[in-house]
């Protein structure tokens, strides 16, 4: 490079001006303010030796400053190139998803090539479509069913706001007070869902959609009702899908075993999930695992928030969407793998902390968490414990806990 030629010959005093003309990109701004001058005429001149030393120091400073500037400029250039590269690859990916993968979903989705592309992140323009396809519609929910549930929810809201409690005899078992509370909670929580985006709050463009989906869901699944965390999941779906499709994805997503366990607050089953998580935690990060144990930091303390909101509350939104991408591909296992990836990424920091600081750190992750580093960290997590995969470990633990419930503890070894 041109620059290296110059620094290779430091005897030639660098002229900033000349530099500016030659190399606009790398103009070392800071050196232009650094001017070597002789002493004013009214003072005795420097001894030759000292002048020589000063000149040398000056030159060294200039070289250092230029080095820094150059490094910074190179970093910027690299960033720009990286951005262009990313944009280009997103552009290419959109074409691949639209023209090759989506039309041949059934045959292609589990191919190696698609899985690799999937890991890179689904381009936002096709994200909703891919999520919908991957989540599926086992429940066979139609747009009409959504309309019916929504109409019912609206009826309820009306009857509540007019103070009438005479309606409803159909859903026996769920008292009017429960429903009322549920609807009240939805109202309260909507304003606290991604509040800094200012789009879900009263008067915001997505407020009614979020309200509709959550309301319709409580009518569709009165046995589950509204549970905190749902508003975040529905909100992320709304950002990527139309209302009815978001509702379909929402209901099917919550119907997955892990989500059902959590949103029904099935404490026993949740503990089984935490226990399975700990098996892989110990396997992958034995030192940190021991540190957590020593400090009584149990997984529920951080996993509850992460799993209930599928990371949409604790990670930056675009990064959370990338986690969702692979969650849609790999299922619940990826949620726990992500947790381990996060723990691994911050292992060094965490091992130096005590209970309260770890708990604080994990319930409020750094806001500038870099996506590539996190994914690189997740990639190193092995979801294999003594040749057992996640599902096998979970099933074994579930069996254990069922047996525990059945047999009295004294009969067990």
């Amino acid at each position: 490079m041109e620059y290296e030629d110059k620094t290779g010959r430091p005897s030639k005093p660098p002229s900033p001006k000349q530099n500016v003309r030659k190399n606009l990109d790398f103009e070392p701004l800071s050196t232009t303010a650094l001017i070597l001058e002789d002493r004013p005429a009214n003072l005795p001149a420097k001894p030759a030796e000292e002048a020589q030393k000063h000149r040398q120091q000056y030159e060294e400073m200039v070289v250092q400053a230029k080095k820094r500037e150059l490094k910074e400029a190179q970093r910027r250039k690299k960033q720009l190139e990286e951005r262009c590269r990313v944009e280009e690859s997103i552009g290419n990916a959109v074409l691949t998803w639209n023209n090759e993968i989506l039309p041949n979903w059934e045959t292609m989705w589990c191919s190696r090539k698609v899985r690799d592309l999937w890991w890179q992140g689904i381009p936002p323009s096709v994200r909703g479509k891919v999520w919908s396809l991957a989540i599926g519609n086992e429940l066979n929910i139609t747009h009409e069913l959504f309309d019916i549930c929504l109409a019912r929810a609206k009826e309820r809201w009306r009857s509540l706001s007019t103070g009438g409690s005479e309606v409803e005899s159909e859903d026996a078992g769920f008292s009017a007070a429960d429903r009322e509370a549920s609807l009240e909670l939805i109202k309260l929580d909507i304003s606290r869902t991604f509040p800094n985006l200012c789009i879900f709050q009263q008067g915001g463009p997505y407020h009614d959609m979020l309200h509709s989906i959550l309301g319709a869901y409580t009518c569709y699944r009165p046995d589950v009702g509204y549970v905190q965390g749902m508003s975040f999941i529905a909100a992320v779906l709304i950002l990527n899908l139309d209302t009815a499709d978001a509702f379909i994805a929402f209901s099917n997503l919550l119907n997955k075993p892990c989500q059902m366990a959590f949103f029904r607050v099935d404490h026993g089953l949740m503990l089984t999930y935490f226990a399975a998580f700990e098996v892989f935690f110990e396997e992958n990060l034995p030192k940190l695992f021991a540190h957590f144990k020593k400090n009584n930091l149990t997984p529920d303390i951080y996993l509850i928030d992460w799993i209930f909101t599928l990371y949409s509350k604790s990670l930056p939104l675009d990064l959370a969407c990338r986690i969702w991408d692979v969650f849609c591909r790999d299922g619940e296992e990826f949620l726990f793998r992500t947790a381990l990836g996060i723990l691994k990424l911050f292992e060094d920091i965490l091992t130096k902390m005590d209970f309260i600081h770890m708990a604080q750190f994990l319930t409020r992750l750094p806001e500038d968490l870099p996506a590539e580093e996190l994914f690189a960290s997740i990639a190193t997590i092995q979801m294999q414990s003594r040749n057992k995969k996640w599902a096998q470990v979970l099933t074994a633990l579930q069996k254990d806990s069922r047996e525990m419930e059945k047999g009295s503890p004294s009969l067990r070894h």
């Binding site: 869902t193 509040p195 549970v227 404490h267 949740m270 529920d300 509350k313 604080q360 319930t363």
Partner: protein, 212 residues
């Protein structure tokens, strides 16, 4: 000047119905700020406040901000363990959240007691008093009565938004916790000097209490 420092670490719970302002109160107390943009708490959040109580005493408060939805009850009750005190919060603009206060208090008392079997100190916070329906303000006497009946050590009208009474409420709670601890120590001190009890010197003070 070298003053010997006493350090106390207390775990405090902040509980109450959903949306009453638990997180806001903690943010105001610990970070001295307020935002109407807090996200719902899922599970539990944490904060640490260090108080220089007096020249010799430092008090560290571990604040456990527990999600308010009733459904999470089973899951979050385990977080009550080893707490030394609590704030129960309600929203003065929503009467239903006040009706839930007694339920929160009973639940807390049934699941958590001090090592000597006594209930932990709890302070009641009537939050969002800046948006005050004056209902409460005029009912000070009734509130005092309510606190007596339900075993609260005190109550405060608070506003996280306007920074009203939060430091005061916390001082009140810490004062009671410290006093409780003094009681524990004082009541066992005579025992410790008795020769037949010297063997239990290493046991925690509450254990000695239970023996006597």
């Amino acid at each position: 000047m070298q003053v010997p420092h006493k350090e106390h670490l207390y775990k405090l719970l902040v509980i109450g119905d959903l949306g009453v302002g638990k997180t806001s109160i903690i943010k105001r107390y610990v970070h001295q700020n307020f935002s109407s943009h807090y996200r719902a708490t899922i599970g539990v959040d944490f904060a640490l406040k260090v108080l220089h109580w007096d020249p010799e005493t430092v008090v560290r408060l571990q604040l456990w901000d527990i999600a308010g939805q009733e459904r999470f009850g089973n899951m979050t009750r385990v977080y009550y363990r080893e707490a030394m005190g609590a704030f129960i919060v309600f929203d003065v603009t929503r009467p239903a959240t006040f009706e839930a206060v007694a339920k929160w208090k009973n639940d807390l008392d049934s699941k958590l007691t001090l090592p000597n079997g006594k209930p932990v100190s709890v302070v009641l916070l009537a939050n969002k008093c800046d948006q005050g329906k004056e209902v409460l303000l005029n009912n000070g006497l009734k509130m005092d009565q309510f606190c007596k009946e339900h075993g609260f050590v005190g109550w405060f009208e608070t506003s996280a938004k306007e920074n009203i009474n939060i430091d005061e409420a916390s001082r009140c709670l810490v004062k009671h916790i410290l006093a409780n601890e003094c009681d524990l120590i004082e009541s066992i001190e005579p025992d410790i000097v008795k020769p037949h009890l010297t063997s239990s010197k290493v046991a925690p003070c509450w254990w000695v209490m239970q023996q006597s």
